[in-house]
């Protein structure tokens, strides 16, 4: 398999399911070294996410950067208001209860600044198909426009380009559980819960519900602890189960490789 490059990537990381699989795809398919970037934006689950992120980084020998946004991002139930558990029962004409407006645009700018400081050319998000319809800043259009805007404001060759990628963007959460399980993703040191109860995932917030549903559909046991009883099937994930998904990940890797080559950033290409 040809490596994309000997590059590193700044990986925006929350310790959620998507984040953890993103790291696995970068490491095992893209052959890129991830440097985790955890951002404190005043989210209610800050402590649980941060502790889980530290455990994940430590258990997997990864570098971790933590960054605090000085003012909370306003206008979201994830950062404002009371701490009641929100289950999305809106009729669809309202925004999702867990929407944080412009969050990923802010994250992109912060990620790019660290990338530039550390002489890194890649910033990676962990988007997925399942959430694309609810969050406009989780889409391929968002990524494409971000890349175009950054390239248009990069004074090459005086400044090196930064590319924003999302190796998880073409997959549902269920597919990510399958890929992650196949690649050995460290799900145990992940958390998706917005409102943990005594360090246990609540099992009823939107994020917990979607995570549980993804593991159930994938027929894989979720090894994190829930405050409620949840039954999972447990079947091994074979190469045949994920072959099509791995092929798609390889296509995206090839696209990134071509972009990097255009700017002469793949001098370290090696074959493993």
């Amino acid at each position: 398999m040809t490596n994309v490059t000997n590059q590193k990537a700044i990986v925006l990381f929350s310790s959620g399911l998507d984040s953890v699989v993103n790291v696995s795809i970068l490491q095992h398919i893209y052959k890129i070294e991830p440097i985790l970037l955890f951002i404190d934006y005043g989210q209610k689950a800050l402590e649980a996410e941060l502790q889980s992120t530290k455990r994940f980084a430590s258990a997997n020998g990864l570098k971790l950067i933590t960054h605090k946004i000085s003012d909370r991002i306003l206008g979201s139930k994830l950062t404002d208001g009371n701490s009641d558990i929100d289950v999305d029962v809106s009729d669809g004409r309202e925004a999702p209860v867990d929407l944080v407006p412009y969050r990923n645009l802010q994250f992109a700018l912060i990620g790019a600044q660290y990338a530039r400081k550390l002489n890194i050319n890649i910033v990676s998000f962990a988007f997925n198909i399942s959430e694309m319809g609810a969050y406009p800043d989780n889409t391929d259009r968002f990524l494409e426009n971000l890349n175009e805007m950054f390239l248009a404001t990069t004074y090459y060759p005086y400044e090196q380009p930064i590319f924003f990628i999302s190796p998880t963007i073409r997959f549902t959460k269920t597919e990510l559980v399958k890929i992650g399980t196949y690649l050995g993703a460290d799900f145990k040191n992940s958390t998706s819960c917005y409102y943990p109860i005594n360090n246990l995932a609540c099992g009823v917030c939107n994020s917990c519900r979607f995570r549980i549903e993804a593991f159930k559909r994938a027929k894989v046991k979720d090894h994190i602890d829930y405050a409620i009883e949840v039954d999972f099937d447990s079947q091994p994930v074979s190469y045949e189960d994920v072959k099509m998904l791995l092929d798609i990940a390889l296509q995206d890797k090839q696209k990134l490789k071509e972009k990097l080559e255009k700017f002469g950033l793949t001098s370290g290409v090696s074959h493993v």
């Binding site: 669809g92 259009r141 494409e144």
Partner: protein, 207 residues
């Protein structure tokens, strides 16, 4: 959540182009597959299958084809099984494919079987004369639908629309191609929150 691959043309679809369209179909959504085919006499056929390899064998295009609409579905974990059906739906006037989610589908239509069915109720009021304002009003009714391709049999019109999620287009061998996931740099992005109407009667097949 889905991929949509659409072509309309005044020419025969070359087998290589059909293969290309089928190849890029599963790049975004692999839970089931649908195809709408309109030939040069406006005969319509609709194909559904959950298995990609079987589906490809069913899309047999050995005839002049005015319109080919391919749809692959990704079923998000947010959806109940109620909406998990194949996703080109018709009431015999409109054929509707969409990309996105419609969490308020049951409020639009209580007897719904799959979510794209809810869009039919909205399209019954389509106003071609004032398509832009009609579209922006309809977006308020189901804001998370995002990309829609609708074939109006009665008027031989094709409606192509997107909101915040993208729809890309290009021309390959004189054939207009639209996709919901950009396969390469030949494709350009439609403006967000825009709609266009194609009159298929003006797309005559060469003989």
């Amino acid at each position: 959540m889905c991929n949509i691959v659409l072509s309309y043309s005044n020419n025969y679809l070359e087998p290589d182009l059909v293969d290309y369209m089928l190849d890029i179909l599963p790049t975004k959504g692999r839970d089931n597959y649908s195809a709408l085919i309109v030939d040069d006499d406006f005969n319509v056929s609709l194909i559904h299958n959950k298995d990609y390899d079987t589906f490809k064998t069913l899309v047999d295009l050995h005839m002049p084809t005015k319109l080919l609409l391919l749809h692959s579905r990704a079923i998000p974990e947010t959806e109940t099984n109620t909406y998990n059906g194949p996703n080109i739906y018709t009431n015999n006037r409109f054929y509707v494919a969409h990309h996105g989610i419609i969490p308020n589908a049951e409020q639009i239509n209580k007897n719904i079987k799959i979510d794209s069915q809810a869009l039919l109720d909205i399209y019954e009021t389509i106003d071609y004369e004032n398509i832009n304002s009609w579209f922006m009003q309809s977006v308020k009714k189901y804001p998370r639908s995002s990309v829609e391709i609708v074939y109006d049999v009665e008027n031989d019109k094709l409606v192509i629309a997107n909101t915040f999620m993208p729809l890309y287009y290009t021309i390959i061998d004189d054939v207009y191609i639209y996709v919901a996931y950009k396969p390469d740099d030949r494709f350009c992005s439609m403006q967000p929150y825009s709609v266009k109407v194609i009159d298929l009667k003006e797309i005559l097949v060469y003989t």
